[in-house]
């Protein structure tokens, strides 16, 4: 299951874990990514709060957590090669979290709703 936030982050849910990244739409909007500022393993993310930043050749913007949870893994490949986000935003998640409250997923958009959201 994949859910999206209004600020264009996704969470790909696998069991009790969620892989959080930015959507393909967000990636395109930002352009060539030059740096991804990630939290550390063990950090607690809070839904709606920023947990890092993504910087492209054009702009920097905050990463906002779609769900709360503890960071159990970060995508270290992005440290050396942030452009992976442009290559495939869905495959190149940024952090893996242990989802604290699955009910938070209900307030996010599913793929069809998100597709509609970015169309307007």
């Amino acid at each position: 299951m994949i859910k999206y936030s209004k600020t264009h982050e996704y969470v790909k849910v696998e069991g009790e874990y969620g892989y959080i990244g930015v959507s393909d739409y967000a990636q395109k909007e930002l352009g060539n990514v030059v740096y991804v500022d990630m939290p550390e393993v063990g950090d607690e993310l809070e839904a709606g709060e920023d947990f890092g930043a993504i910087e492209s050749v054009k702009a920097a913007s905050d990463l906002i957590a779609p769900v709360s949870g503890e960071v159990v893994e970060i995508n270290e490949a992005l440290e050396e090669n942030p452009r992976l986000v442009n290559a495939d935003a869905m495959a190149n998640w940024i952090v893996k979290v242990k989802i604290a409250d699955p009910a938070e997923l209900d307030s996010l958009m599913d793929e069809a709703q998100y597709a509609e959201y970015i169309r307007k």
Partner: protein, 344 residues
Amino acid sequence: MINAVRMPVAMPDGKFRPSAAMQGERLPFYLAAEEWLARKCRGDYFMMWSVKPTVIFGRNQDPTAELDIDYCRSHGIEFYRRKSGGGCVYADGNNLMFSYITDCDDVVTTFSAFTGRVAAMLSCLGIADASANGRNDILIAGRKVSGYAFYFLRLPDGRQRAIVHGTMLYDADPETMTRILTPSAAKLNAKGVKSVRSRITTVREHLHISLEDFRRKAIEAITDSKFDLSPSDIQTIRQMEAEYYRDEWTYGRRQRSGHQRLEGVGTIGADISLKDNKITAIELSGDFFTLAPALRPLTDPLIGVEHTAEAISKALEGVDTSRYIANLTTDRFISLIARQAATT
């Protein structure tokens, strides 16, 4: 419609008058004001401001690789991280700061609309060959006079706002700039975004105009309406300002001191992790000579300690560092760990 943001300024008679030429605050106040206008207000705003000598580096830059921190400290030059991307700049009273806050559908369009407007302002004042380039700079005859960075905000309600801010060199002292923006020691393996050097020029080189006149004409050319900050707006901005003063924000959570060569010790560097401005881990590396089986007695007392020079010295009271690392005095060790910690 672009609103010129004005602040109440105390006059000699004790009365307050709104002024669009904002000055006298420290840099974080203006960054917080931009963010407040972006998050809490609707519409378009323009703010012109200036600060005493201050270095501003990009969201994802390593300050130890971009500026000479020791030099700044000893010369009273402040330095801060901003939330927009890009490289490091030096600001003082002659380098005016321009901030444009607006709704944003598309980063490129927003950027070029604003830089185009600023370039047109310079042309109107009589600078013939001012133009915006593709790198978000404004050039006069091929030299940079003004450069912009972008902070793109996606608000919880789905609105998108932009903070486009940058420098406008009225006058400059290139030697001072270069001195400050040259790190004391070249850093190996420096992480983060690197600055790009540009050949610069100034408004004054091309135009006989006083700083005051230039400020006034720029505001007139760029804005067509006014917005006055109220005392309660200013109070909210002051609360938002606080996060820019935290070491953890300024230096980053993982601080790498870089390797220093210390006489009699060799090279030594420290990787320090912070959380809530407290030290959570320290790793020492270098070619120094160790005199003990483990260095933990040196680093353990610092875990959980606030990253300030005072707290670090206090935590190391009674620790004789030269028993662990040959010829390393406790004072030198403190200055290595606290090198980046605020001294205030």
